[in-house]
Symmetry: C2
């Protein structure tokens, strides 16, 4: 009899796992059922802000694979609108509620992949359930927001200045709304150091976004069930539309309730093959806890690229192969209108938390040779261990052509390079792509000099 | 008495060395005289094609530091139009001919930096000295070409399809000329594998350049001393203007004649501190031989970024500090209209020469998420050791946003990463910057699979 694989969650991690398992084991050997509680599977959640902003004009463009492809070509029994409400590890079955009205029914498994994603942090505040208050977690959220835009709202308030909040602020500015952005932190993008975040705040203001930092949201005013304003500790901001971009946490409650162990980040614990401590149960994607290779601590980072890699590893392993997910170093990039923002490794605060004392430098340069048309500003911050000069983290804020340089820095961090060693790196140079000293090399030189100074002072 | 430093060559390497030495030792401790045979010092030779093409409109933009800055602010006695014609290591002096009519005179030194750059390969062919046949080595060459364009030439022939030839072909197309390109090789850009070079050939043809590959140049027809056509083994190509882009070789004849050892590449031999085997004599820039970290063989690569790093290292060492140039891995990038071309490490042929058997893959993807506006084509080739999977080389041909990815690949090669290990790299992802699987990761996955297959076959 075929082994039975059940996958909970039909997005990147779950469907990657299902596809990879299928790739190695035919339908006679492995029966695969995947449950997705929403109406869409295998879509790019990261694309939602661009759907709302209008850069992407068709919802279908965000769907990586249509449900029929899974069913017809991969023999994966993908069931949409089907929410798993309980995992019974003793019976080795999941209980499923069909949103079309069926169920609940029990579906048995031999192997289980938990890929339940993340849940948006939703403030427990008066008025947070009013109509007009939107999350941006699922494609259904994005579609709801698109519909709301048809009502021609004029004023929007975005809560949270993390990358999703910023992308949504840009999207709404593009749609012609007057946008206010609120965050309790002193600078946007808490994944950056405040000195680099301040550059992002300036950029946002330059776009006409009204930015309220260091200001706590206290609730929402409503009228007839409809949101009318966001209320902070200092002011009332009239709003036809509110977008919550307060970050996410691992959606691990279902797993935890069944007895699958979660870690200190509330993400599901797995080994590097994506096995949970429970035999035959795997987990992947935004719902898991992973390992930060620089801080050497558990972290939960919701990001499509990790979800895909983890799901793929789980699926290969279920399929009888061998694959691992080695951990993360916190690389991320985003675009806010013409500004590009990227980071990798640890921030100054993160490095301190992990026990490092740091040497830091920020340099300003250009993305191309200064004389070449289209040369744009780029600022790079490097954070190094003050004794060894090991690169611990890097951040980039700049314009076109700036941010993807973070990848070279990520590979350097991956290999525990010192900033001194980095000064000798053979990076590409030609006037349309870099000054003769690439900004990465300039930053490395300055950071190496700073490490040197600090060591002399000791 | 102050020590006397003489620098031969006033471009990137020489002036970096002089500046760094000055940075650490004042004029009372070190007297610095720099000789430049041309009329300009410290300019971006890499910028010449953009001056000819019109993207850069003012010659001055290519001058990094004006001569007065060296003289007045750095107390460096920079002498333009001054050609060193002999180095006497016994007398420890150089003989200088002043192009304004003075000299020759002897200038003594305690320390000497040879930074004589490269000489263009100029074919020893009938008519090669005719008026209208231009090199593109020095800023003076660029200025001469600009003047020639004022005569409204209609047809140009570019000899050599290396990156300088291609950049010049583009520049002349921009100026409205009908351009033919000739190279004896079967594909342009011999620094790429032929399969990737073929993509560049297609791109050139798309721009309207007439491309003759596998065709040898035999000479030039002239009339009254003026070039009128380029003659290949197969045809006569009428030309009002001929540009020689046949690559360069180290300009080491002066050094060699004096007894400073040159290596098998004809580049001057140095250690990693840029010391030649002759006490007190240093060399840096296009005239030196350096070490290729993957092939572990000597190479001579003329590139501004190496020249700057080597000059800087020499200058720091002369100044009493400690700095090294660790060698190269052959990273390079160039832009031909909307096409971006980059490479690092070894080509297939280079890997074979160095004794490797290889596993290879070419993948095609997009620079951004497929649904995001401005997503462009990118092709990446990876060349790995067939047994260990170690990445030996990578090549990229694509459009906007493609090429700078080579830097992450360069850092991976620098650390002798395997393609399997690379599949786990935490590279940046967001829809405006990459598909959820960055093309680099896709290429690594495919290459790892290929290595796996080959190992199974053994």
């Amino acid at each position: 009899m075929a082994e039975r694989l059940v996958v909970i969650g039909g997005d990147a991690a779950g469907m990657s796992a299902a596809s990879q398992a299928r790739d190695r084991r035919g339908p006679d050997d492995l029966r695969i059922v995947a449950f997705e509680k929403g109406g869409h599977a295998s879509y790019s959640a990261c694309g939602i802000p661009y759907l709302v902003g209008g850069e992407v004009t068709d919802v279908k463009d965000l769907i990586t694979r249509r449900p029929e492809v899974f069913r017809d070509e991969l023999a994966i029994d993908l069931r949409l609108d089907s929410e798993v409400v309980e995992i019974d590890l003793g019976r080795r079955a999941v209980s499923v509620r069909d949103h079309q009205g069926g169920g609940p029914y029990w579906e048995p498994f031999d192997q289980l992949v938990v890929a339940t994603g993340a849940v948006p942090s939703r403030p427990d505040l008066p008025g947070a359930d009013a109509e007009g208050v939107y999350g941006v977690q699922t494609l259904d959220d994005g579609i709801a927001l698109l519909r709301a835009l048809e009502e021609k709202p004029r004023r929007a308030v975005v809560i949270g200045a993390g990358y999703i909040g910023l992308e949504m602020a840009e999207a709404l500015v593009r749609r012609g709304l007057k946008v206010s952005l609120i965050d309790a932190a002193e600078q946007p993008m808490s994944t950056l150091d405040p000195d680099m975040g301040a550059l992002v705040a300036d950029a946002l203001r330059g776009l006409g976004v009204e930015v309220f930092l260091g200001e706590r949201i206290e609730g929402f005013a409503e009228s007839g069930g409809l949101v009318t304003a966001a209320l902070t500790e200092n002011r009332t901001l009239p709003a036809d539309l509110v977008v919550l971009g307060l970050g996410t946490r691992p959606n691990s409650a279902l797993a935890e309730a069944s007895g699958i162990p979660v870690g200190e980040t509330s993400g599901i614990r797995t080994d590097r093959r994506m096995r949970t401590p429970v035999e035959g149960v795997w987990a992947a994607g935004d719902c898991v806890e992973t390992f930060h290779l620089v801080s050497q601590r558990p972290v939960a980072i919701a990001l499509g690229t990790h979800a895909n890699k983890q799901g793929r590893a789980a699926g290969i392993n279920i399929g009888g192969g061998y694959a691992t997910f080695p951990g993360v170093i916190g690389t991320a990039v985003s675009k806010i209108c013409e500004y590009e923002v990227a980071r990798t490794g640890l921030t100054t605060a993160g490095a301190a938390e992990a026990g490092f004392e740091t040497a830091e430098e920020i340099v300003e340069s250009t993305t191309r040779a200064g004389y070449y048309p289209g040369a744009r500003q780029i600022k790079i911050k490097m954070i190094a261990d003050r004794r060894t000069g090991r690169l611990l983290g890097a951040q980039i804020v700049g314009q076109e052509g700036a941010a993807k340089r973070i990848d070279a820095l990520a590979v350097a961090i991956w290999h525990e390079m010192t900033v001194e060693d980095m000064t000798g790196l053979d990076l590409s140079y030609a006037p349309p792509f870099a000054p003769v000293w690439d900004p990465v090399l300039i930053a490395a030189r300055k950071a190496a000099k700073r490490v040197d100074q600090l060591n002399r002072e000791d």
